[in-house]
Symmetry: C2
Subunit: 363 residues, 2 copies
């Protein structure tokens, strides 16, 4: 028989035995509910109820417990509850690429939303989605309830590894689907269409698509939308120049510098993200002597804070991170709450066009 | 008596009882070491040894266990070990202000260093250090081993709350000290002196100190160093103009716009961070018609990626985040390893001057 009381006895036994262990001071300094019960002159179960929202306990007893807990520096221990319920209320959040301010902001909003739902973030930073698998072993050993990741998951092997965890997984802007895996996507294709229409109204004749890495499925969808939109304005596909960057400022700068050497001068640019667009704006000025928007109209994606900085004043698409995070939380709730096996859903959030100076001038 | 075997029995009992609980599917989908032992035809203790580095187990048995574990999707459970040892190998990392790319980069490096030390990050995002106290309760209930925070802790009450946790705490750029609390600081005062010397060589006559929020002790130290350095160049203190921002781009822009209205035109600016310096550069151009470095020399702090962007080309101080994180890890090791009660240390890392175009021109 193993109930809560037995667990507490175990904790005490561990405390006593640990006096001779290496981690002695790490353990004996922890104040337990027994210490609090003794100091408050109440039962141990009263201490437990005082820290469980909605439990039956008189206001007077609760106050005695909280006062004793505060004076001893006691904080309740969630670990026995994790063992008993199988739920840790921890969500593994796997991130990478925080040098892009968009991901940093998304992480802040996600961490806030999870905290507000009573969930705790167990963070895993990986350099690349391809290294995700080894990170998962460690995360899962903490009995996390679910995983949320903002990594661009372009590999089927990684999707398979995620599915095999048999844990709810929520991804952002991922193209692969699988059992247990839900995805929240920005309307990347739709935004590409909108970009072409807007640039068309500015007299676009020599369009340029500045693509992200080929493994980035969101970038590919933006490019397909833009290409279709350019055709819709009556410009033949062959006139659309495509260059590829890797989502960094430097790669946007270098892409324009390369075009300069080839004698190609675009008059309208859609960049797969804002970082590359900022690099492109600086290279247009420094390498080609072209200014935005007078000589070139340019748009990015993500609406990072720097898009609003006056040196760039960049028209962009805002992914509506708040909405995307809210949808992710709904998918998470649904997946955690169901008894009917793995959930796998996709939802799409429209990006909002933010017009700034880089496309404003009538030319 | 409570040993590892008893814990495993508990886990089984919980699994059986949980079949009738709400979180049934969250629990019964987890594969246990018993399932793996049965599939591999070995004892449960062999499974445990296969997943414990350095344990005595034959290569053949270990391979059988790993194959069975892989086919069942089993991953070891760290929770019983947390209860027995009192160590979770989780470190609470408290962050805020990721809109500043400096903090985002610091978080990435810290998360990587912790992972490489076998520690896991339990992330807590708070909007402000003043709200830290309520966040701590939740973190500590997971029996974290220590806390690392990059928040500017300017309040004695927060320091007291941290000390009362009786857990090792490591802060970055914090001025307050207390039992259990160690700090890694950038040499903020020294950098202020260096900034004044460099700007002095560029003919500084009308210096401006663009300060961060007054609760930011790192900013105050930079300002004191700069003020002393300006005096050392022979310029009377009264000639040093001081304006205050809040570490954002907009606050740097607005500070210069206000000076324009007062008819004050600086010729040398030291900004407490790069974000405000970027705002100042744009406002100097747009509001005063002044260009850097021809009319004004300007320096920032943090060496964020945008400092290297061509529109800013900003001279800055690099905090040497790698070194600061390495020192933080040493302090953490020391605090976790000692038997001699609370550790409280401060160490200082020199910032590296990165000279760029914003201070380069001879005027």
């Amino acid at each position: 028989m193993c109930d809560i009381a037995a667990w507490h006895d175990c904790t005490v036994a561990v405390r006593l035995r640990a006096k001779h262990a290496t981690w002695e001071n790490a353990i004996i300094r922890a104040v337990t509910s027994i210490d609090v019960a003794r100091a408050a002159g109440v039962s141990q179960s009263a201490v437990s109820r005082a820290f469980s929202p909605g439990s039956s306990i008189s206001a007077r007893t609760k106050q005695k417990v909280l006062a004793a807990a505060a004076s001893l520096g006691y904080r309740p221990n969630r670990i026995p509850a994790i063992m008993l319920s199988g739920r840790s209320f921890m969500v593994g959040v796997v991130i990478g690429g925080l040098e892009n301010p968009f991901y940093a902001t998304a992480l802040e909003r996600l961490a806030t939303a999870l905290r507000e739902s009573g969930l705790q973030v167990l963070l895993m930073h990986v350099d690349d989605a391809l290294t995700l698998d080894s990170a998962l072993d460690r995360l899962v050993s903490y009995r996390i309830d679910a995983i949320v990741t903002s990594l661009a998951i372009g590999s089927k092997a990684v999707v398979q590894a995620l599915s095999q965890l048999r844990l709810p997984v929520v991804c952002f802007n991922s193209s692969h689907v699988g059992p247990w895996i839900s995805t929240v996507n920005s309307n990347n294709h739709g935004a590409g269409l909108v970009a072409a229409r807007l640039l068309g109204r500015h007299g676009m004749q020599r369009p340029l698509w500045l693509a992200g890495p080929s493994r980035n499925s969101a970038s590919r969808a933006r490019g397909r939308g833009f290409c279709q939109g350019v055709r819709d304005t009556g410009i033949p596909s062959a006139r659309l120049v495509r260059v590829q960057g890797n989502d960094t400022y430097d790669s946007g700068y270098d892409a324009i510098a390369r075009l300069q050497k080839q004698g190609i001068r675009p008059d309208a640019i859609f960049s797969s993200n804002d970082m590359m667009a900022c690099g492109a704006i600086d290279a247009l000025r420094e390498c080609m002597g072209l200014h935005c928007p007078h000589d070139v109209a340019i748009m990015g994606y993500d609406n990072i804070p720097q898009a609003a900085w006056r040196s760039y004043d960049l028209t962009s698409f805002d992914q509506q991170t708040d909405q995307m995070v809210a949808r992710a939380m709904q998918l998470l709730d649904e997946a955690l709450g169901t008894q009917d096996g793995p959930v796998s859903r996709t939802c799409i959030v429209d990006a909002q066009l933010i017009e700034r100076g880089s496309t404003r001038a009538a030319r």
